[in-house]
Assembly symmetry: D2
């Protein structure tokens, strides 16, 4: 065997965290902690760090009080400590401007790098080291694989990011993410009226159908967030969430329903402190096959892909077409 002909190079391990700029931190904390049940691991003036009950790391969500709602960073964990530097060098070799973020730039996190995804301009951060603090004893779970007890609507972990860029840049952006960050295309849709342009692509570095999805934004806006998804354990948890949320005065999006794409239950709601769209997501299939063939959805099947059953996603004016959130630039 000839080992030294093979080297995977740096790899991304998981979607780690999102840093959301919110205009009303108090409302956002009520939403993510009191309602959705996430733990506030640490809170400072104007910033809070949260995680789901099955996350042992320091945080998967950062809420930052700001004048305008935006995404400050999409953070990914890399597979090995050295991959932070390996990615840095690789990006610089490609003439991409990279910022080096010192340990603690996000509390509990080690050294990281920050750059804008070419073509789509989404601010990505890559890191490896992160603290694993125990929860306060009052909320700590007796289960060693849970940081805290299930609370509220039962958000257990972050699931994926769904971002958008303009139709004119999506092909290049989607290809760049696959070729440079190792995301594998799992399912995808080409534009029915423009079959050489990606309409949406669901990609992962894990067994999830997607850790990251990118779609074409008809408003021709780059660097947009469509939604960030958090994971609930069972379909029924999504029904319970819908029942609770319908009775609250927060913006209710679409759902519950089951996507044909990924075969997962969805419920789209909006953080009342920022209007960022949040998906409560449950189930779906796992991809362990090493030779997965990306699934292309044909135009006639797209409605099935969006909604297999339940509250339909209206592609014309519904979930895709409406309000999306901008992102910060490289320097914030």
């Amino acid at each position: 065997m000839t080992r030294n002909t093979y080297d995977p190079g740096p790899q991304i391990a998981q979607a780690g965290a999102i840093n959301l700029g919110v205009t009303d931190l108090t409302k956002s904390l009520w939403f993510f902690s009191d309602l959705l049940g996430m733990e506030i691991v640490h809170q400072d003036v104007g910033v809070a760090y949260l995680r789901g009950y099955q996350e042992l790391i320091h945080h998967s969500l950062v809420l930052t009080q700001q004048d305008h709602a935006r995404v400050n960073a999409y953070s990914f964990r890399v597979a090995r400590k050295q991959d932070v530097e390996l990615f840095h060098d690789q990006l610089v070799d490609s003439d991409i401007e990279v910022l080096q973020l010192s340990s603690g730039h996000q509390r509990g996190r080690g050294e990281a790098i920050r750059f804008l995804v070419p073509w789509s301009e989404h601010p990505f951060e890559l890191y490896y080291d992160i603290d694993k603090p125990r929860a306060a004893e009052s909320i700590r779970s007796k289960l060693p694989s849970s940081s805290s007890s299930r609370r509220g609507l039962g958000v257990r972990r972050i699931d994926h990011f769904n971002v958008q860029t303009s139709p004119g840049t999506i092909n290049q952006a989607e290809a760049w993410l696959r070729e440079n960050l190792g995301f594998k295309r799992r399912e995808f849709i080409m534009m029915p009226d423009h079959p050489t342009t990606v309409m949406a692509s669901w990609m992962s570095v894990t067994s999830q159908m997607h850790d990251l999805a990118i779609g074409a934004n008809r408003l021709e806006e780059n660097a947009r967030l469509h939604h960030v998804a958090f994971n609930l354990e069972n379909y029924h948890d999504v029904l319970t969430a819908a029942d609770r949320i319908r009775d609250l005065d927060i913006e209710y999006g679409v759902g519950p329903g089951k996507h044909g794409v990924g075969q997962a239950m969805y419920l789209y709601i909006h953080d009342p402190g920022s209007d960022h769209r949040v998906e409560l997501y449950s189930g779906g299939y796992q991809i362990f096959d090493p030779d997965w063939d990306p699934i292309e959805w044909q135009p006639a099947d797209i409605p099935n892909g969006m909604t297999w059953y339940g509250d339909p996603i209206d592609l014309s004016v519904g979930s895709r077409g409406r309000y999306t959130t901008p992102s910060a630039g490289l320097h914030g």
Copy 2:
């Protein structure tokens, strides 16, 4: 960066299939296909190949008519085509006898190798190539990520193997699996009365908490199967299965209940055609963290680990202590 100093070598991608020797194939087919809802992809005299509705590959279960119930093979898929040969060379280098199995030795499968796990003597087979046949149109799903429609009790895929060896060999066997096949220890229990001996270890090469578990068999028997697990999508599916199965004259084991270990719902039943123990398994947490610290269960917490809630697993006479299934030798 110094790429050519790094090479992961061959890797296992997933638990692929189990080949069960059964004494009454007709009963076993009724159990796995009519009751559990698995698709019979192909059937010959004395042998049948089955898969769950979310499996696109040829099979995850082989049922072979035999005089005695036993496990003929635990099959794993490797990450790359060349890994079959790389593992072959690596095993031979370690003076392990390896059989080369030609393409089609299991229908639909490419070239494979077969060997006995040192110390535990379980017959493992490694392969990469496998066909991905479409289901018959009459049962085909409209969902491209499902091979067939959900049927019966809704088995969607194989989940994991739980095997046993004697207390005198488990430490060496468990270490060998980690060091030579790349399984990562996720959760484990040391024997309360013999703290240097592994009582049970849950290991994976995927984001599952375990693709393979190995436990100490108090009867001092090597090469035993405790159970093979198949995956259902929701906790509620396990309740529905229990309701249905309690009304049938097949051996009902333990459950429904929720394991603290892995946080998954369980129901143990027995194939009436072979008495192999089958677990219907749902949920649990995913491990995407690249630096997961194996969780050790302390003696006082073991009951929580076995059963967080629901029908308790009796460690003395219950699920662990009773009937387990032998395995075939290297040459079958």
Copy 3:
């Protein structure tokens, strides 16, 4: 108190059964028995009698092969044997033509009476005696309160009838049902554009929110069936049914969703052998209060009433406005 003068007058005890004329009995039997899981208690040439797994009586559904899809009878059980005759006399006193049906007119059923509901012209039958046959041993449940084991999609019993009449007769028909048959109004909606006319009224003689609902048919058709509902035990069963049915080539209506009216999960599908609309219904609240105040839905709240969450019922072209089924006349 004067107990010996005690006479409660005739009362209806429950919605007992529906007799559906179907144009393709084979397809209807596949739908109700193989798919929905109802037991075929008895089958003759051109007719079959079915029940759900929690029904101990002979049948709740009769399927009759006919040239045209229609409802032959809506049958209700009365509270006491003598109530059949008491209702007969009461109806005749009101100059309503009543047919007397001999024992066995529906197999397993005792003497019954048949009449058309004034104004709406729906054919109602009232009976008391009905056999309680045990299921064949092969499908019998070990639970004495279940006639057979849960099968298929898990229909456990009939739930309610939802019928329609023309806007010009609904006020009189709805009042007649309350004043003469003892149905209590539980929830109701007046026509937004004609506030003195009932749009829909949900009524019951039991603790269910409705055993019978009547709505205004915009096509000005009397004697129509909107749907007959069968009961599933849990919301999750409705999701499982949707998953299965979406993959079949039968007409899929609306759902899953949760009604605000009654707080129950719904899924509307159509019998492929007759196109009668069938609702799979689960949950909802029970009314034990002896002084229940009927709930009136205001126009602005009607969308919430139709769909609290999930797949919305489109009042303009959706579930209400489209195809409904006619009924037989008094003499069939």
Copy 4:
């Protein structure tokens, strides 16, 4: 027929409320309101009135601070206003001492009567009038059939009382309840070792399998409460409750499991402020048949009756045999 002589005699309509004496009101309020999700409708010094989110009446639970845990009253609503007096006269005619309780004796409730059940000595109260206050706007539901939004573990209403008396008095007590209060026997078990003595009887005046159950207390104690049950809408809600409660330091009893008796999911826990046993109960079949034949469980089937699947109820030392709560006397 002679309608004008119509008099059905007094009837009980529903299990209305339980008044629990608790030794730590603060803890009990946390348990019933914060954890189980019941609304605190009114609170005074030493007393609180609560209801579930689907109860429109003033309360179904009264918590009274006392030196010892006991049941102060089992309250039932009667079918008509005059039934309070009719029952009063009927009881007095039977030489039973009856107290007349003025309006407001329980806040929000009208005039009531109180007496001890002959032979079992449980303090029963009968009333008709009760206020139907709207919930505070901050928690009010948009659903008119819900008083407040679903919260916490989702208790929606009281379900039933399960009481105990001594083996020497149970036959007389159970017969008295049926003959004098109109409870119908739905399912029952005779003592395996003493077949002429009732072991347990499940009775109802509604379509529920039981509003009231009475069992033989092996400790020969009369006037005991085994548990009071509150209703959750779906089986899955019971699993969610178990997950949450296992992580709390309150006494966990038995469950989740499914009773064969009644076919409902159960979870037994204990109020940390009083140790009264509370059952979280979901599902089960409805009895609409006017001629229901009481189901007798044979000795060999009793284990199935107690636990169809899930965490088994140990009849020797388990749920039946252990701690039960005493009741107040006639005068409190």
